[in-house]
Each structure stands twice: as C-alpha cells, then as structure tokens.
Symmetry: C2
Subunit: 351 residues, 2 copies
C-alpha cells in the first residue's frame, strides 16, 4: 500500500456518540438550550471528530506556496515574482497571515512546494515538486506521480505537526495564478460553469476577468479531467500547493484532527480531498466565505457552512486564522461554563 | 446643563481625515487593496472615531441586569428568579460571558440596575434604580426622572472605565422579560409591526410567542410612546438595564471610544441612544446578528452591518466578546503588517 492509500484507508466518519454527549453537556450549561447557535454546533462537530471533549490548544497554519505556469497567460493583477517575494515576507513575519496567526496563538508552517525561484530562507520548509507547474492551457499542470508526491508531502508536514501536538490544522496558500487553477478544479468537481466559479482573484479588471474565464474553459477542454479522480484533477489542473493542501486535509482527517479551511484555493484542495475520501468532510471546517464566487459553490458541494463572512479574499490562511478564535471559544464554553445545577440557576418554567 | 445634556452636547461625527489616512496606510500594506474586506472597513471606522491609528488594548464589557414587571405576563420560558441567579453566576465567573470575556482579555463590569431582589455580591456594582420596572402592559415602565438616572448611571460606569484606560466598550445584559421590552422599543423607533420585531427570546413556544406579540402591541397602545423622544421611549417601555446601556453607548460616543453592540436588547438601547444623539452611530459597531428578528430591523434602522452571524441569541454581551477578536485583528493588521515598499514586494502589473 502506498503512503497515500494508507492515509485514505484510515479516514472514517465522525463519532456520533461523542457528538451526542457534547450536545447533552452544552444543554446542561447556564444558557437557554441552543442559544450560542453555531458556537455550539462547532463544539459538537469538534467533539465528534475527536471522540471526546473538544479542545484547540495548539493550532498550526500551513501556508504552502508554489508558482503556476498559467500565470504567463495574464490572469493575475500581479507579476509572478510576487509569489517568492511574499514567501520572503512570510519568513520575516510581515504578512497578514503572520499578524493574524500571532494574534491567534497559531504557528505558521511556510513551505515552498515549487516557487519559480527557490526560496532558501530560515523558516521556509523546502518541499519543492518542481519550479512551478506547466500552463494548464497547454496540457496537465504536473504528472500524476508529482501530484501524489505533493499530496504526500503536505500530509507529512501535517503529520509532523500533529506529532508535535497540533490539535487544529489550518490551510493557507500563496501562488500568483492559483485562483485560476482553483477555478478550473472547482468547475470540474462541482460541475459549475467557468464563468460561475471564476472571480477577480487579487483584483483583476473586466478584460482580464474575461480572459481568465476563457483560460479556465480551455484548460478544462484541453485536459479533460475526470471529476471522480481526485489525483487526476490535481495533476491536470494544479497546482503543487493545492495538492499539498489536499494532503494536509487528508492527514487531518486520518488523524481526526480538525482542519480549518481558508478561502477559495483551500476550498479547491478540499474538493479534491473529498473526492479521494468523502469521509474527510467530517474533519473540514469552513472558516469563512470568500468573495470569490466559486468558493460558495465549493462549500455548497462539500455541504459546509462558513462561520465568518467578512468579504475577505486574501488567502494565505487569513480567514482560517480568524476562525481559530471561534474554535477556541466553542471549546472554552464547553469546558468552563457552569451547569444549571452547579450554579443553582432555575431551568425553564414547567420544564 | 444636566449631566445627560452635557454628554449629548459632546457627541460629534467621526473624523473623515483620520479615516482616509487609515485607508491609505492599509492600501500600502502587502496585500491586494481591500482584500481583507470588512477587517479593513473596521480598522478605518475605528481610526475615524479615535482620530488616529486604531487600537483595542483594554476592552470592557458592561453586563447590566434588571428585572421587568412584564415578566409577570408570562412572556419568558424562565422564571423571574433567573435574573438574580444569573447575576450570581456572573459574579462567580461561570456564565458564557465570563468564559468568552476571559478568552478575549476583556474585563466584565456586572451591575445591578434593578434586579427584583438586590444582588449584594463582590464584583456586582449596585446601580439600582428600583426593584424592577412596572409592567408596560399597565403603564410606563418607569418615571422619566428614573430613565434619566439609569442613562446617567450607565454613562458614569462607562466613564469610570474610560478613565481607567478602556479603549473599547461592549454592551451586554441580563433580565428575564427584556426581549419583550426590546421588542416594544424596536417597534416604536423603527415603525415595524409588533409581530415583525418579536422573537422567541430565551425560546418560548408558539402560544407564548403569540401572547408576547399581543403584550408588545398593547404596551404600545397603552403607553403611546413618541419615537422622537429617546428618554420617553425608555421610560415608557423600559427597562433599567436598557436605559443604562443607552448611557454606556452615549458615553462611548462622547469620549470617542468605540462601543461594540451585542444583540437584540443592546440594539434597542442603541436605537434609543441614536434618537438622543444621531451622531452616536459613529461610535456603534454591530458585533453580530442575533436570530431575534427585531435585531435585523434595528441594525437596518441604524445603518449598521453586523460582523458576525452565528445564530446566537444569548445576550449577556457574548456576541460583543467574540467581536473583540475581530476588532483586535483589524488594529493589528493596521499596526504590524509590512508595506510593499519595506518588504520589497512588487505592486500590480502596470500600476
């Protein structure tokens, strides 16, 4: 059995009994039943995954970076060099994800999965599959063995973090051109039209948006991906960091550690992971709803409801970092609130 | 000039130049312009209020408690005794607001504004206006002088906190029956129908909900409040804690300290505060959208968009406590992110 096959074999659905226990406990706490809304649902889902009381003490955010051959087709507002420059910014702690992760008490794992020019800096793990993908307008982004290598490299990064105590994984990415790849993956797996899934990315103008839609349409026509083949979709449509994030998600699911999905690009990785192992959905938490139109379609396909809706579209893991506060809040409510009985508070009249 | 009149005279609109400076700074940071969505809007609004870089280092949550004569009309799922019992729970640190405030690094000020049986416990400030309001089904909740006393008591609590360094105020409340008072206030000020603003509160069944709607309708008919008279609306429809929260909000606005509004009952206080001083809206931040249907109407009337939407309906200040994390995130992004120039990151192609 390959490493990937072994990982997939470990993924099982959440624990219904642990969920019911958590709900009963929440109902005994000094508040009207259900009055903390989605915070309670979140605590129950975390308990179901963990098989016991929810806890989030050591969150780790995986910000994986890679370049995309499709960037040469003029689909982004920024030059390809920005991928490497932003990885350096991550390493120096100056990017939004650094700021928001510090606030959330989360560690950021930055990894180079294939930036055009290698970034050799302390604090950047080198997991390079190649110097960027090939343009999906001309053929597959990468070979199938490379897609498997990228998934397994992401999974290993996640497993190292879990071995070190990580109890929440979060996804994030950087890669000029990667919303084009994510659009193609989302169109393929959800069946939605290219113009419905393709958004403005970093903020492209109308002509560039129309070109981007056409690139997505042609990439699907040229590559003819099979929506039922998760590895194949990643190989044909890319990118290295998206495949790596699929690995992070699958490792979380295999080890029953929750995975906070960031925005649109992470959603594309989650779609591919759910094709490979439908039960992995039990480990996925949609941190926020991005303004990218394809993100909503991806979340609907995964039957996940986002917790935050702040009109964000930055990526890097920023939405997932904000979600860490909500996940912690859900755990703390479960762990620390007094019960009606202990606090001597009366229950409902006539109950 | 009375203390209330002096407070109202101090309230002026936010600082447009500080807002523009904050937006320019955000646009120079290493992210596509606007890509942090509402986090950026939040940073800009905080800067506009403060007249300088946004900061939230010392949040204080005001959880004001009082009883309501209208509770005798059978409008709640819980007995009136729960108000005092929950205040004791707050004092011992076992309630949801204690847990979420600890997580957010916020201090909770618990004050008895008129619980039926006084709560004399360390950690509970006594600001009693009376032993609960009169039933709004029979006449005014309180006299006009008592409404002024309650507003001024809330404002003084807030001013003490501001003098101690508070840089974010948050509203919260406890009072069996207070969603009925809030429904009446919201119907009066927004002009919406009683059945449109009245919700399930702590979770009442259908017959109780119909009775609650009828109580709101009759309270408006009996008291004939004038929607243009903020103090009069609070005096006629109650309650002591709602008037106190209006005072907290007005003090925040007068001292240009942001006020995070919690849910439906806080929204009713905000509506009354905005009648007294329309410019106070500049200090109001809608932390979340409650499931109470009247809350959405109140926020629309105030032209405030909530930041969180987690199907919560607990009150106490719980939504506002979660919002503290977002407010801090907005400030940290503004303060700590690297600029394109400093990080050596390229700007948009052709820009």
């Amino acid at each position: 059995m390959t490493a990937l096959a072994a990982l997939l074999a470990r993924i099982t659905p959440p624990d219904g009994e642990a969920a019911a226990r958590a709900q009963r406990h929440l109902d005994a706490l000094t508040k009207p039943p259900g009055s903390l809304g989605r915070l309670e649902e979140l605590a129950v889902r975390l308990a179901a995954l963990r098989g016991g009381p929810p806890r989030v003490d050591h969150p780790v955010i995986f910000t994986l970076a890679a370049d995309h051959g499709v960037a040469a087709e003029g689909v982004s507002a920024y030059p390809q060099a920005v991928t490497a420059q932003m990885v350096e910014n991550f390493a120096r702690g100056g990017a939004a994800i650094n700021v928001l992760a510090r606030q959330a008490g989360a560690r950021v794992v930055v990894a180079d999965f294939g930036v055009a020019t290698p970034v050799a800096l302390a604090g950047v793990a080198s997991r390079r599959i190649g110097p960027g993908t090939a343009s999906i307008l001309r053929g597959p982004a990468m070979s199938v063995p490379d897609a498997v290598r990228a998934i397994e490299a992401g999974a290993r990064l996640a497993e190292e973090a879990i071995a070190g105590g990580a109890d929440l994984l979060a996804t994030g990415e950087m890669g000029i051109g990667n919303t084009t790849a994510a659009s193609a993956i989302t169109a393929c797996i959800t069946g939605a039209a290219p113009e419905a899934v393709t958004g403005r990315g970093t903020g492209v103008d109308d002509p560039t948006w129309r070109r981007k839609v056409e690139v997505v349409r042609r990439a699907l026509a040229v590559n003819r991906p099979d929506a039922g083949d998760g590895v194949g979709v990643l190989a044909r449509l890319g990118g290295f960091e998206i495949a790596g994030l699929a690995g992070v998600i699958l490792a979380g699911a295999a080890h029953r550690v929750p995975v906070a999905l960031d925005g649109f690009v992470s959603g594309a990785a989650a779609l591919a992971a759910a094709v490979l192992a439908p039960a992995a959905r039990g480990a996925m938490f949609a941190s926020h709803r991005s303004v990218e139109p394809g993100h909503e379609l991806a979340l609907a396909h995964l039957r996940l409801a986002p917790y935050l809706d702040l009109a964000m579209r930055l990526g890097e893991g920023t939405g997932a970092a904000l979600f860490v506060h909500l996940a912690r809040a859900a755990c703390l409510v479960h762990a620390e609130m007094a019960t009606f009985k202990a606090a001597g508070v009366s229950g409902p009249t006539g109950a």
